[in-house]
Point group: C2
Chain length 239, copies 2
DNA sequence: TAGTGGTCTAGACCACCAG
DNA sequence: TGGTGGTCTAGACCACTAA
């Protein structure tokens, strides 16, 4: 897989920041200098730096330079679009996925609305619980358009749907719209989760889109209150 | 205030999408065409289109064109960096802010860590509750470095701190790191909120930075469970 | 005033998609 | 194969910061 020039420079700089070769609070070399160092044009350097800025590694200050930020404070899922498997693996904890349901269904009215489909489209329904350190703390309900995903097996569900979609099927997931609320726990929550007496769960609703802008799936992720944590890095809109 | 060329083009296109002149699902004119229409270079058009894409208005598809997205589904605080006043006003509901505390303090150890200051710096502490439709549902605790904000009055707290920082003091807020968790309600929550028997609150912790990359304030926003809602629009990282 | 980042240009070549 | 968006270049001028 070929790497773009600006991506290679970005990765190089990220590595140097993470390893502390570029220290928090210090200034990056100027864009002109970097262009010379990397043997490229300034616009290409600027593309790399904009990516660094967007991902919270640096802050550009006009007339001054690019300040390296304290990256240790901006550690986790900055993008908010990370699969459970990726998260669990990087956490270093004991984890496991239980598959409770894997069926093809016709959408009811609510689901038709969520997925913007008619009644004749078939939908995969996947219900899974997630265990971390032997506690079932997340209940994931996925609804996926069969149109894009002809087959799903239990083994795939135990591993990672995202991984299967992207690596096996070649689907390119592009963006998602997420909504977080807190709601009363349902009977289903109590059945599949170690609910520990909590009366409410955190519900994350996700609409996931492909790179051709079509809607792939709707997901409801139901988290036990005490184990929920969401991190976001937000840049102020330009006005 | 002068508007950049790419910003003007961006605003023009946003307006056309919102007004339905550019319909959801249709294609934008190609970048070459747009460059000609607006009398500018293709790179400038690309800057505008990237902004549209980033803000969820279009989806670019290589070899095909830029698809206009259904913007009505991506309505609310996409950025996650919006003041309560802006939000409340746009919601059209009855709202009101109560100021419970406005004092200068020396930071304790926890606060020193949160704000990365030494003990001799002075900090503004502001405690406010937010009423919507006559229910107190949010408790905001702000800790602001006096170094950047010499004076704060009760009237300012009742109105909007962000507005004061940006319009009156000329501070430019650049980005924030947000963390969302659910925690047990404290005595303070019960005192200032209409807690309605809920045992937990949603806690949003925010570190707000200025455009020169220095930390301005730390904020704890404590929401009654049933009234909390957070919306996020996430683009998948390029790999 | 020298140096920084922000914007803009007019080209070029490439990978990808549809007909 | 022609048109699309993605990348890249080598310049230019500007606004801002710090000395």
């Amino acid at each position: 897989m070929k790497e773009n020039k600006f991506m290679a420079i970005y990765n190089n700089l990220v590595k140097n920041i993470k390893e502390g070769k570029l220290k928090a609070g210090s200034l990056l070399p100027s864009e002109h200098e970097l262009a010379e160092q990397f043997g490229t044009s300034r616009e290409t350097i600027r593309k790399s730096l904009n990516l660094l800025s967007y991902n919270g590694y640096i802050q550009k200050v006009r007339g001054k330079g690019s300040v390296v930020l304290d990256v240790s404070r901006f550690d986790f899922p900055v993008s908010g679009l990370v699969s459970f498997r990726e998260l669990a693996k990087s956490s270093g904890k004991d984890w496991r996925t239980n598959v409770h349901e894997l069926v093809l269904i016709k959408p009811d009215n609510l689901l038709k609305q969520q997925l913007k489909v008619t009644g004749k489209d078939e939908i995969w329904k996947v219900v899974r619980s997630r265990e971390i350190d032997h506690e079932k703390i997340i209940l994931d309900k996925d609804f996926i358009k069969k149109q894009f995903v002809p087959t799903i097996t239990k083994d795939i569900c135990k591993d990672s749907l995202y991984h299967y979609f992207e690596r096996e099927l070649g689907l390119v997931i592009s963006f998602a719209k997420k909504e977080i609320t807190v709601e009363e726990a349902t009977a289903e929550d109590r059945e599949y989760l170690d609910i520990n007496g909590y009366t409410h769960v955190v519900v994350v609703r996700n609409h996931v889109y492909l790179d051709n802008a079509s809607l792939l799936q709707y997901t409801e992720s139901r988290h036990r209150l005490d184990k929920f944590r969401f991190v976001d890095f937000a840049r102020r809109e330009r006005r």
